[in-house]
């Protein structure tokens, strides 16, 4: 190729020069095509129009707002209005239906679960966690234990009226668990024996002992009225079962001692004051769908 270029170079060399010469070196003049200038000028004209139409230049007391009246806030509001309009038919149906009907509706269920998930993140995740796994004192919503019941209606009622909520007359409140130690209802030794018995309920491998036997009697006198014989729990009272692997506050001896000494009385707000009924229904459907929901 080099050969050919050399041969034809003198002939091809018809390019104009700018007339600038430095030490015999000339500057070629290869001008840009003129239409580029027109495109450039068109861009300037476009920019002027853009500045007039859209918010643009800062001024001493704000900025030029533009004749279009466009703003990000307005755009957001418009998009939200659009989304609300799209959701309106679903919401209208949900308002007329019970949570169980919503969950059974193949069209509404995915909507309610998705919408309930968003509402959960805003209203519930602070205590129950983003993954609904709960925390110490805040129930895990993924498992199969429910303090007050795990049907759609139970969950709906719990969210609506809360638990031991001060500002709802229909709240679930059968009183807290008494502070057996602090209020001197049981002695330290009695508490120790009850703990031994309670731990044996969920762990059959523990060897029998006199503490367990004595604890059983104390349990029957003091605890079974709420937690039932054998510690199977009572949902009417919100008393958790003590014979399984799930512990709201913890199943180790130290935590159980804390529980028996100071009592427990978890509180959940009544969401009827904060959320509309439709949102609570969607929350119920979502929480019920997490794997622990009861029929």
């Amino acid at each position: 190729m080099a050969k050919e270029t050399k041969k034809t170079a003198p002939k091809a060399n018809k390019v104009e020069t700018t007339g600038h010469v430095w030490d015999g070196i000339e500057e070629y003049n290869n001008p840009l095509p003129r239409w580029w200038v027109w495109v450039f000028l068109a861009c300037i004209v476009f920019a002027i129009g853009y500045c007039v139409y859209y918010p643009s230049w800062p001024t001493a007391n704000g900025f030029l707002r533009g004749t279009a009246g466009w703003s990000q806030y307005k755009q957001l509001a418009d998009r939200q209005a659009e989304a609300d309009a799209a959701k309106a038919p679903f919401e209208a149906k949900i308002a007329q239906m019970t949570p169980a009907q919503i969950a059974a509706d193949p069209e509404l269920r995915p909507y309610a679960v998705a919408s309930g998930k968003a509402a959960f993140a805003i209203n519930c995740s602070q205590c129950h966690g983003a993954g609904s796994a709960g925390a110490k004192g805040y129930p895990n919503l993924l498992d199969d234990e429910w303090l007050y019941g795990g049907t759609l209606d139970d969950i709906y009622t719990t969210i609506t009226h809360g638990i031991r909520s001060k500002d709802d007359d229909e709240t679930r409140d059968m009183g807290p668990m008494p502070a057996f130690g602090r209020d001197e209802m049981l002695t330290k030794e009695e508490i120790f024996n009850v703990i031994a018995y309670v731990r044996s309920l969920s762990n059959k491998a523990l060897p029998g002992s006199s503490a367990i036997d004595e604890g059983k009697t104390i349990f029957a006198d003091n605890c079974a009225s709420c937690h039932n014989d054998g510690g199977i729990g009572n949902r009417e009272l919100g008393a958790p079962p003590l014979n399984n692997a799930i512990w709201l506050y913890g199943g180790d001896g130290k935590t159980l001692a804390e529980t028996l000494h100071g009592g427990r009385g978890g509180v959940m707000p009544a969401f009827s004051k904060r959320l509309d009924a439709g949102t609570i229904k969607k929350l119920a459907v979502y929480v019920h769908s997490l794997g622990g929901g009861e029929e």
Binding site: M1, K3, E4, T5, K7, T8, A9, K11, A12, E16, T17, T18, G19, V21, E26, N29, P31, L32, P33, R34, W35, W36, V37, G129, A130, G131, A133, N140, L142, D143, D144, E145, S202, P241, N244, A245, I246, S289, G291
Partner: protein, 474 residues
């Protein structure tokens, strides 16, 4: 250096070069005929391909080539690509690039000269121009003429036809993205979807602008390929060249001692990019070979051998008058760089073909829930939650049985799925869809402690897939 003129002192625009309008003359000859044939085939393919039907069974689109942007699928006859198979497009691009390098190394800018849409559509627009306004001389005269009714009529007709071609171009384009007969019926009834309307307008405008007005400027100013072609040529590439040894010095036919070139200027007059091939290889030359036809015409009239301008190599290996079938005697086609490109093409093509043939009709994808990693159940068992995606690439509903072969004691269940009579978890996936399920795996206490690797396996008897995930326990 006194003969160099300084730039005139004038306005901004004088610093920039106005386009010198090119009015190529008509030319006849074998290359021109070949180009007509190529144009007919390529335009035919472009305009008719969306109308080709291909039966994929009920429920599936029956368009042979369809880019389904809404469902994010690409159909090409028997091939159907899903979004996760976009790798094939990478392969296709690689293959196209290598094919371009390969052919350019062998034959110069044949893509530019014959097959590039810019060339094909510009050619088409030029035919229209010639048909309405006449050949080169008539057009030059018309350009210089004052605005008469006749000139206005010719210009209006020309631009109208150009716009109609542009409209057809844009119109055909949108048919690749939706079912062509349905969209056509919709558009004829005046229901033009916004996206389709937008693309029709855009392509009408761009076709009209690029093929009607910008023409060779697209190649000289916009297209990067024109500028890096030099890296792909070598001394043995066959390109359109002027045989200076035979042609120079130029002179009248009667001149003694003059070369074969009579300086008639036909090669320049027919050139669509307005260059003089006799100046040697230059970046504006798209190797369209029309100057070969033009020069041969003149050589025949002068009773001189054809091929003063011909396909030749830069080291001048092909003699004037060499026949096509003898080219291999003069040109070494099997050169290292040709072989490199061929090897890469074969490797990429072979890989694509292999993976296409061994492509699975089902794809299993599993995401282990991370928040929480596990759930303790009342009976002490440990639950792990998996989000299972099953891609069903067939056009029939499929029932897949999900198992965890490593953990026979694990009980599997899924939301909204009732277990089959034999206790198996059977997941249904609709035709051509992705089925998504939240699957719960419950393992008795103590089976796993910490983290264990676990395979999730699906099968329907015909198709099967396995995904390795984890199981986490306290």
């Amino acid at each position: 250096m006194s003969d160099h003129q300084p730039p005139e002192e004038a306005g901004l625009l004088s610093l920039f070069e106005a386009r010198k309008k090119i009015s190529p003359a008509r030319v006849r000859g074998p290359f021109r005929r070949f180009k007509w044939a190529v144009m007919a085939v390529l335009l035919g393919i472009y305009y008719l391909l969306p109308w080709v039907r291909w039966d994929r069974g009920p429920g599936a689109p029956d368009q042979a080539i369809l880019v389904d942007t809404i469902n994010r699928k690409f159909y090409f006859f028997f091939i159907e690509l899903w979004p996760q198979e976009v790798i094939y497009f990478t392969g296709l691009l690689l293959l196209s690039a290598m094919a371009l390098f390969f052919v350019t190394t062998l034959l110069g800018r044949v893509w530019c000269g014959y097959a590039c849409p810019q060339t094909v559509w510009t050619d088409l627009f030029m035919v229209v121009e010639r048909w309405v306004e006449g050949d080169r001389n008539a057009r030059l005269k018309l350009d210089a003429a004052p605005w008469t009714l006749d000139k206005i009529r010719k210009r209006v007709v020309k631009h109208a036809i150009w716009l109609v071609i542009g409209l057809c171009t844009g119109g055909a384009w949108v048919f690749y993205f939706q079912d062509a007969p349905t969209l056509m019926a919709d558009m004829l009834h005046g229901h033009v979807p916004f996206v389709a309307g937008f693309w029709v307008c855009l392509l009408t405008f761009s076709t009209y602008l690029l093929a009607g007005h910008a023409r060779e400027q697209v190649c000289t100013y916009m297209c990067p390929y024109a500028r890096f072609q030099g890296a792909m040529f070598d001394e043995e590439s066959l390109i359109v060249s002027y045989d200076a040894t035979r042609g120079e010095p130029r002179g009248k036919p009667s001149d003694k001692g003059a070369g074969d070139c009579v300086d008639c200027g036909r090669c320049v007059a027919v050139c669509p990019t307005g260059i003089d091939i006799r100046d040697g290889q230059q970046y504006q030359c798209i190797n369209c070979a029309l100057c070969i036809d033009a020069c041969d015409e003149v050589m025949i009239k002068l009773d001189r051998p054809k091929g003063l301008i011909r396909y030749n190599t830069l080291n001048n290996a092909v003699p004037s008058g060499a026949r096509l079938r003898d080219l291999h005697k003069y040109v070494r086609f099997l050169r290292p760089r040709v072989l490199y490109y061929a090897t890469i093409m074969a490797a990429v093509g072979g890989f694509m073909l292999f993976s296409m043939l061994t492509r699975h009709m089902v794809d299993l994808n599993v995401i282990h829930d991370r928040n929480p990693l596990y759930i303790t159940r009342a009976d002490g068992s440990v639950r792990n939650v998996y989000t299972v995606h099953i891609v069903n690439k067939t056009w029939a509903e499929q029932l897949y049985t999900l198992t965890m072969p490593d953990m026979p004691k694990a009980h599997l269940s899924a939301e909204d799925v009732s277990p089959s009579t034999d206790g198996q978890l059977v997941l249904t996936v609709k035709p051509g869809k992705v089925g998504t399920y939240r699957v719960y795996a419950d393992l008795p206490r103590g089976e796993v402690s910490g983290k264990a690797s676990v395979d999730l396996h699906i099968t329907n008897g015909t198709y099967a897939d396995t995904y390795t995930s984890i199981f986490v326990a306290p």
